[in-house]
């Protein structure tokens, strides 16, 4: 096994007395595309939020020779760890262009920022057309694209995606997944949390199944898609 880009050991997240994540361990190697699937309330979002330091947790998080659990959320993007939060979190009152520039907030290489902006507009032409519009006027799918674009502006090595398909029409979900594949093809490592297990497993090479705050199954996507229990529980068969 190659050196993992991120390795999580015995992660626990508690909300008051309730344990949402109960000792989760997993690893993602550089260039991999891995998903965490599971039902509502299984602890997927809590896991991702803990990795991004949005909520306190116990356990170890090793990322690129750093101990993430000892860092603050705003320090991570400059280390190449980007989060696209659940529910997108675009800045509704900033324009699309300003939203993308916020993604490069920690950078001060102006020329490179402009070049990256152009790249994103090539990748997401819908955003280019609406460059000067307020992000709040975009459709849900476009907002999700913008949120992903904003994260890319931080030049991440590891992209954490929290339920990018949430609340979107099926056709839009497919487009978003195409975008995520495109990002991964450029060498960005992706950790995707999804309820839409089928689509997630189709684009990722490996997957983890989370239930009640624990990882219960870990396997390649092909095996998970073939697993009768997974099919019954998450693929609606």
């Amino acid at each position: 096994m190659a050196q993992a880009l991120i390795e999580v050991l015995n992660l626990e997240v508690r909300y008051g007395g309730i344990a949402a994540v109960r000792g989760v361990s997993f690893a993602v190697e550089p260039g991999e595309m891995v998903c965490v699937i599971g039902a509502n309330g299984a602890g997927k979002t809590s896991t991702l939020k803990a990795l991004a330091r949005m909520i306190p947790s116990s356990g170890e998080i090793h990322y690129d020779h750093l101990r993430v659990e000892k860092m603050l959320s705003h320090e991570l993007i400059s280390k190449g760890l980007a989060l696209v939060p659940e529910g997108r979190g675009v800045f509704a009152r900033l324009t699309i262009r300003e939203n993308l520039l916020m993604g490069a907030y920690h950078r001060n290489d102006t020329a490179d920022i402009d070049a990256d902006l152009d790249k994103i507009f090539v990748m997401l032409p819908r955003l280019k057309e609406r460059e000067k519009q307020l992000a709040g006027t975009l459709s849900g799918g476009e907002q999700q694209m913008l949120a992903i674009g904003r994260a890319i502006m931080g030049r991440p090595k590891l992209l954490l995606l929290d339920e990018p398909s949430m609340g979107l029409a099926p056709i839009m979900v497919e487009k978003i997944f195409e975008v995520i594949k495109g990002v991964a093809a450029q060498g960005v490592t992706v950790l995707l949390v999804e309820q839409n297990a089928k689509l997630a497993l189709e684009i990722c090479s490996r997957g983890y199944v989370m239930e009640n705050g624990r990882i219960t199954v870990a396997d390649t996507s092909a095996n998970l898609l073939a697993d009768s229990r997974v099919r019954a529980a998450y693929l609606g068969e």
Binding site: A52, M54, L72, S73, H74, E75, L76, I77, S78, A82, L83, V84, P85, R88, G89, V90, F91, A92, R93, L94, E98, L101, M102, G103, Y105, H106, L134, G136, T137, A147, R150, A151, G154
Partner: protein
């Protein structure tokens, strides 16, 4: 600033020159109706300072602060204590005003630090409490050591002086009488210009965009690498400093401070100026502050004569009627112009989008 002037075309330059002339002549026009009106104008400019300071906290960063008057109080008391016979200290104003700003800034961070995780209603309640605590302190800090002189307040506060030139006294230049209030007016005007420039630069800066981002979505702002704690504290600190500067000038102009000047109503009034004018837009906030300072004064002088002309005598006490009319006007404005008189462009577009969405 130089770029700004050269970028203007001829028509704008003429307009700007006319406004400048009008602002220079204004106090003399008002003085012909009574020096009281120049004083009202000066207080209106002080309210503009306060509204612009609160706008940083509420308008830019989206943190609802109901105790903002506390920083005005801190600035005023710092000036009063360091330039009055109370402690026998008479430091010059250019020393005290920065001290007042610094003390208010620290007070802003003292309020900001424990409230960083609060938002909306909860933050509003804590700030409201903070404002009251400061006032109660000023009211009671006369025992066992007399610091603030309690409810009696501090009197005989020094005016601004540069050598023998005293802004509190009348002077005659070239046949024109420059009364104390007129001299203060010019000083306030210069400070106002500086405050507007600072606010404008802040709004268009990286920090300004970070404030908007925090207001919109804190998780996403953190993910974008914004140190939300420091940026929020900065909003509190900067807003408070403006309040402190305004407070110091208030103490010098008024010559007297007491806790009564810093009641909750004042905080809500300043918030009303920000919201009515158009949260986030500097020009709107200025318009809101001027309007809400002048209208009550205009009503003070018109309510009584109008009643007498209509009914022969005053039916409703003028003071009551004045606030009633004022309140109704506020409610109507917010009903029909929910984004304020002169909203920030983004805010307006958003409101319009919402309205169209409803149709």
């Amino acid at each position: 600033m130089a770029n700004f002037i050269t970028s203007l075309d001829k028509k704008n330059k003429l307009g700007l020159a006319l406004i400048a002339v009008a602002l220079i002549v204004l106090p003399f026009v008002l003085a012909s109706a009574g020096t009281a009106w120049v004083r009202i104008l000066n207080f209106a400019i002080l309210y503009v300072f306060l509204a612009l300071g609160l706008n940083i906290v509420v308008g830019f960063a989206g943190l609802l602060d109901l105790g903002y008057i506390a920083f005005y109080a801190v600035g005023a008391y710092v000036y009063a204590l360091l330039a009055s016979p109370h402690f026998g200290l008479h430091l010059p104003f250019w020393v005290i005003i920065p001290i007042g700003a610094a003390v208010a800034c620290v007070a802003g961070m003292v309020l900001g630090a424990p409230t960083l995780k609060l938002r909306g209603d909860y933050l509003a309640i804590v700030t409201l409490g903070f404002g009251e605590i400061v006032r109660v302190f000023m009211n009671n800090l006369s025992n066992p050591i007399n610091v603030t002189n309690g409810p009696k307040g501090i009197t005989l506060i020094d005016s601004f002086k540069i050598g023998s030139f005293d802004l509190g006294k009348s002077d005659v230049f070239g046949g024109l009488i420059f009364s104390g209030p007129i001299k203060y007016y010019y000083l306030l005007l210069i400070v106002l210009l500086a405050v507007i420039v600072i606010n404008k630069r802040l709004q268009d800066s990286r920090i300004g965009r970070a404030w908007v981002a925090i207001r919109e979505d804190e998780v996403a702002a953190k993910a974008a690498g914004i140190n939300t704690r420091n940026i929020k504290l900065l909003a509190f600190a900067m807003g408070a400093s403006f309040g402190g500067i305004a407070g110091g000038m208030f103490a010098a102009i008024q010559g007297f401070v007491s806790p009564e000047s810093f009641v909750l109503t004042e905080s809500t009034m300043i918030l009303a100026m920000v919201v009515l004018g158009g949260m986030g837009n500097i020009w709107g906030v200025i318009a809101g502050a001027l309007l809400l300072s002048f209208v009550p004064e205009l009503l003070r002088y018109t309510v009584q004569p109008v009643q007498e002309a209509l009914f022969g005598h005053a039916i409703i006490e003028p003071e009551v009627l004045r606030m009633l009319i004022f309140g109704i006007a506020l409610v109507l404005t917010m009903r029909f112009m929910p984004a304020g008189l002169w909203p920030e462009a983004r805010h307006r577009r958003e409101m319009e989008a919402k309205r169209e969405g409803k149709k």
